[in-house]
């Protein structure tokens, strides 16, 4: 196997813990990866140097990394990363980066990998309705779905070498529009509480918001909810034409489980469904299914979880 390189996942200027899952994935390809941390301030890389299973840790330092720009990041990382198989997270931003960086090197990219075995890589295709296993005959970039591989744990050397780099930024952020609420976006959350048409009115989403705030979750929605109610923005939509999410826990309330909704959330680690129809397809995918109206089940779930969190 050729050399492996992990590009650390950066969220809000810090190394995200999914980076240690990328190290585990690189180990599964048979090598101790060089971990490259894109940063404007090299101290950010210290967190990555704590992870076990890595070889060298390099802080790739450049002002380019203050804001995301695909061309700028790809050129600045290309200058630092050695040849080999590069692994990044399969977050929307890192998938974009992976595609640009691969094209820059004239190599291919394998997105959304969920399994690595005997040098073969497996990803979901057709929105998770089938799996595809591929082999590589040269260097490539591999993006790895979060919450699939175990963390490599801690116990790294803590040593970081700093390399200055630069890149050509093409786009310019004019304005940042923060979300009205401080709640997480579904694409960033580890727990998601989602509501569907079964919530009856958009005002009833406040019950989901209360639950979400109790357990530190984001609030999502089905397309029927988004299309029916102006108050529910498309940014909340999970599914084929919404966001693909991969949380530890997905709680679906009043959602039937149409194939296009499943497309966006079926790979969640644990799924809870609350639906008054025992035949709703969502129950075939639920780890914990509660056949009840949400009016009945949600207050019980809310108070039980609230007392646990207290």
């Amino acid at each position: 196997m050729s050399e492996t390189i992990v590009i650390a996942e950066i969220v809000k200027g810090a190394v995200h813990p999914t980076t240690s899952e990328l190290i585990t994935a690189a180990n599964a390809l048979g090598s101790q990866p060089t971990v490259i941390v894109p940063c404007a301030d090299a101290s950010v890389a210290d967190a990555a140097a704590q992870y076990a299973g890595a070889g060298k840790v390099i802080a790739a330092k450049s002002d380019v990394f203050s804001n995301y720009d695909a061309a700028g990041w790809a050129s600045a990382l290309d200058a630092v990363a050695p040849a080999g198989v590069i692994l990044t997270s399969a977050s929307p931003q890192s998938k974009d980066l992976a595609a640009r960086l691969a094209a820059r090197r004239g190599i291919s990219v394998v997105q959304d990998v969920v399994k690595i075995e005997g040098g073969h890589l497996t990803s979901p295709i057709y929105s998770g309705k089938a799996m595809q296993t591929v082999s590589l005959s040269s260097d490539a970039i591999v993006t790895v779905r979060p919450n699939v591989f175990d963390s490599s744990g801690t116990g790294g050397s803590g040593e970081v070498s700093v390399v200055d780099t630069s890149g050509n930024v093409a786009t310019a952020v004019q304005e940042f529009m923060a979300r009205a609420s401080s709640r997480l976006d579904v694409a960033e959350a580890n727990i998601i509480v989602s509501g569907g048409r079964g919530m009856g009115t958009p005002a009833n989403f406040s019950h989901l918001e209360t639950l979400a705030d109790t357990i530190g979750a984001a609030v999502g929605a089905s397309r029927a909810a988004v299309d029916t109610w102006d108050e529910i923005p498309h940014s909340m939509q999970v599914g084929q034409t919404g966001k693909t999410v991969n949380p530890n826990l997905y709680i679906a309330v009043g959602i039937s489980g149409a194939i296009q909704h499943l497309a966006g959330m079926r790979s969640s680690k644990y799924i809870v469904a609350i639906n008054k129809d025992a035949d709703a397809p969502i129950f075939q995918h639920a780890d914990y299914g509660i056949v009840a109206s949400w009016e009945e089940a949600l207050p019980v779930l809310q108070s039980s979880l609230a007392s646990m969190m207290a």
Binding site: A99, A103, K129, A140, L249, V272, Y288
Partner: protein
Amino acid sequence: MANIIVLVKQVPDTNARIAVSGDRVDLSAVKKVMSPYDEFAVETALQHRDSSGGEVTAITVGGAGADKVLKDAKAIGVDHIVRVDCDAELDSNALQSVLASAVSSLGADVVYCGKSAADTGAGSTGPGLAERLGWSSVSNTISVAYGDQLSVVMPASGGNARVNVPLPAVVSCDKGNIKVRKPNVKGIMQAKKAKVDVHNFEIPASTISVVSHSMPPAKPAGKSYQGGAAAAEVAQLLRDEANVI
């Protein structure tokens, strides 16, 4: 006047059941449609043309069977339809190389595509094509305003960002708030008569090869409860069994 290209791909209908026979998916009985995000890309391209003038060319890569997706685009209102002839499965490097050749030979100020195709879900084509052309790129845009530069809105950590994008550029489109127009009778008649412009380009060898397709691993049957009171037990299990709370 803008010279606009939109990339479209034919994929299995998202409602279709996908079957695996032997170690390959069997799509012979599956209805094919334009990938849903490509519909947003086509609509964005048409709105760009309608606001600044110019022409829209839709391109797909595939065999003759893929002409239908181009006719669908024509029926909605694109001006020209081009198929890059290729029957083989291509990896991202080969596909983007061919598309870069096609875009360079046709010429364009901007290329729109869907944020990902419904079959692979990869989302590699837009940014990869831009890199090969040396253009700027933005992905997952939810709105686009047209001018000498583009001004797009796209997700950023904690919210959305409005971003200036110099042209030429490749823009991959998410759903956003635009309404996709439907073909009218005149459009459908024109599409029937329209000729697909077929091009051939050199295709590099793929370095990623498919070993097998399989059905997703069956999930063990979950626990099922009747009545809302069971939510208390589920809450306990989320903490003690699943360890997610």
